[in-house]
Amino acid sequence: MRVVALVGPPNVGKTTIMSRLCRTSLEVGNWAGVTVERRTCVYEFRGSRYRVVDLPGTYSLVTTSEDQRITRDVLLGRLDEHPDVIVVVADALNLVRGVSLLLEIAELGHTHLVLAVNMMDEAERLGLSVDAQTLERRLRVPVVPLSAKRGTGIRRLKRAIADVAEGRIEPDPPRAEYPRPILVAVRRLAEELERGLGEPRERARGLAIKLLEGDVDLAERLGGDLSERVERLHRELSEALGRDPRAEIKRARDDLASEIVRAAVSGRPALDRQARLDRVLVHPLWGGLLAGVVLSGVFALSFYLGDLLAEPLEDAFDALGDWARRALPDPWGGLLGDGVFAGVGAVLAMYPYILIMTLLLTALEDTGYTARVAALLSGPLSRFGLHGKSVFPAALSLACNVPGVTGARIIDDPRALTVTVLALPAVPCSARLTVIAYLTGHLPDPWRVPAAVSIYAIALLTFLGTAALLHRLLYGPIEPHAGTVVELPRMRRPHPGTVFRVTWLRSNEFLRKAGTVILAASIAIWALTQYPAPLGHGSAVEVIGRALEPVTGALFGLDWGSAVALLTGVLAKETVVSTIKTLHLRLAPAQAYVLALVSTLYIPCASTIGAIYSETGSARLTALSVALNLGVATLVGGLAHLALSVA
């Protein structure tokens, strides 16, 4: 079977091309050792089978993030995946970037290339025409114009792939011309790599270029004293050129790419409408107001539609529970009714909210609007070590932290991504909204709403504060402005197929957890409330709660019952409410407020902890997130208790 790799910048439609190539047989997994999505599929053409691998979107092969590193490593032959043909996917309206990437890949010694120019229909509509033949002649690589959305050009792409794979066409892409001092440095470094590390000649040259272009991660991974060696060469080059050699290398490639593209493209795209839109959408006042309206609309709609769907779901689980308690002998009736159906049902009832909110936010992302909001907020958020795009997972987290953590993948800055994922649990999800609403109901009338609002405000400040703290702990002082560059993709109508697929990917994780972790934990907690004696008569949770009472009493003024509520809340935050109800707890207004505050902040729920672990792949980072939450909640809850008991 032959292997075809799809490479290209983000947002050029690689995934759509993939679904057009194969129709079925799409497999989604992870790259070995990291949690970056790995999509493959298989198709047949002219009697041969081809396996397509979608490499993570990347602007260049000098990497800044985990997923881009995978693309680079595959192309450097450092991963167990050796493509027979590499298809570079370019956007017809940003052709230079695609061609430049193709030249960069060719430099690593790959000649088995095909250039797929996607979104031809859109380019033509905007008044731009691309002459594929001229492009092909200049690039000496097969060029296939296509529109993945409409499905045109796919057969031609398969033919070009087969021609290259079978050796009928031998591409021979041109090379960028570098200034002499750079060429000399590349040759010297390449010889050292060849001798020292036994790299084959052609690849050694490519590696040398990447190292001089400033790929620090690569230098570290190749080992030895390479980092220092490159650093030295870099200084020499900067002096000889009087300019930054990293920029010079990119410039040479981009210049060649834009010269080639200019020969093949005619007409100027009519992007005035886009520009006019952006003047408004990225305006601090008008754009900000609009973002406020749009995001409030998303929440209102999610909760309105979510309520409609969640209620029958809750009723169904209640009915199932009643049936189990009636129809089955003990302890099975209790186990199913009070443990499984009550626990899993409570969590599953969240799914409609999550699904609708994820759907709406994913649709907004597909139109390109999310990038505009990110651009607006990138300035303030970057001061806390976050990225403009952190706003997307944060918004999603208001429904549920699990899709929020998974959705953080759209952040293309690796540090900001980690910081966002670890700080997200401070954002109150809808489960915690239930807790906050129930507990603030214990307060006298004029105080209910302000109390609830104050908890949200404290949680938001905690999110920003822990983010800044995490950045300092993990990466040192925050570099000003680093997270403020945001690409603005063209605004367009959302593509339903993409939106549904991504929504499903983002939300199904939650369903899977409901069936595994939450199911197990529900049973465990039910058992703890039943043995050795039923709740209220010396069950295990009561014993644990009473053991914790001295701590929660001293810190927050909360007795053993609230301690039990907090313990069970680790499973899923709304359990705090059901525990209070089963234990028939009486709470004074101050106690209710402190308990609401602490339950909001104290720990990510079991599913979120799982999601953080699977996103970061690090027990250390997950533990750090949990510890920070516990610390902050103790501090804030303690202060609130103190303030309220003084007042």
């Binding site: 990119k250 003047r279 402005h481 560059v485």
Partner: protein, 75 residues
């Protein structure tokens, strides 16, 4: 005389001369093709982020960072 990207009028096309920002910010800009030598058209300026268009796409750059990108007006 080079000036900063934040000071360019809307609608003008300029060439980037230098980026005097920290390592992380500079690497981010370079990767997106916003490096010395690149031509950029300023789509929006004024308060808030600066929006520029290059041959490679449209980007928003925080105002603080835009002050650190030195550019030259095209004649």
């Amino acid at each position: 005389m080079p000036k900063s990207l934040a000071e360019v009028e809307e609608g003008r096309t300029v060439r980037i001369v230098d980026v005097v920002a920290g390592r992380g910010a500079a690497a981010m800009l370079y990767n997106l093709g916003l490096r010395p030598g690149a031509r950029v058209e300023v789509i929006r300026s004024g308060p808030g982020p600066v929006v520029v268009r290059t041959e490679g796409g449209t980007f928003s750059i925080g105002r603080g960072l835009a002050f650190k990108v030195l550019v030259e007006e095209e004649e």
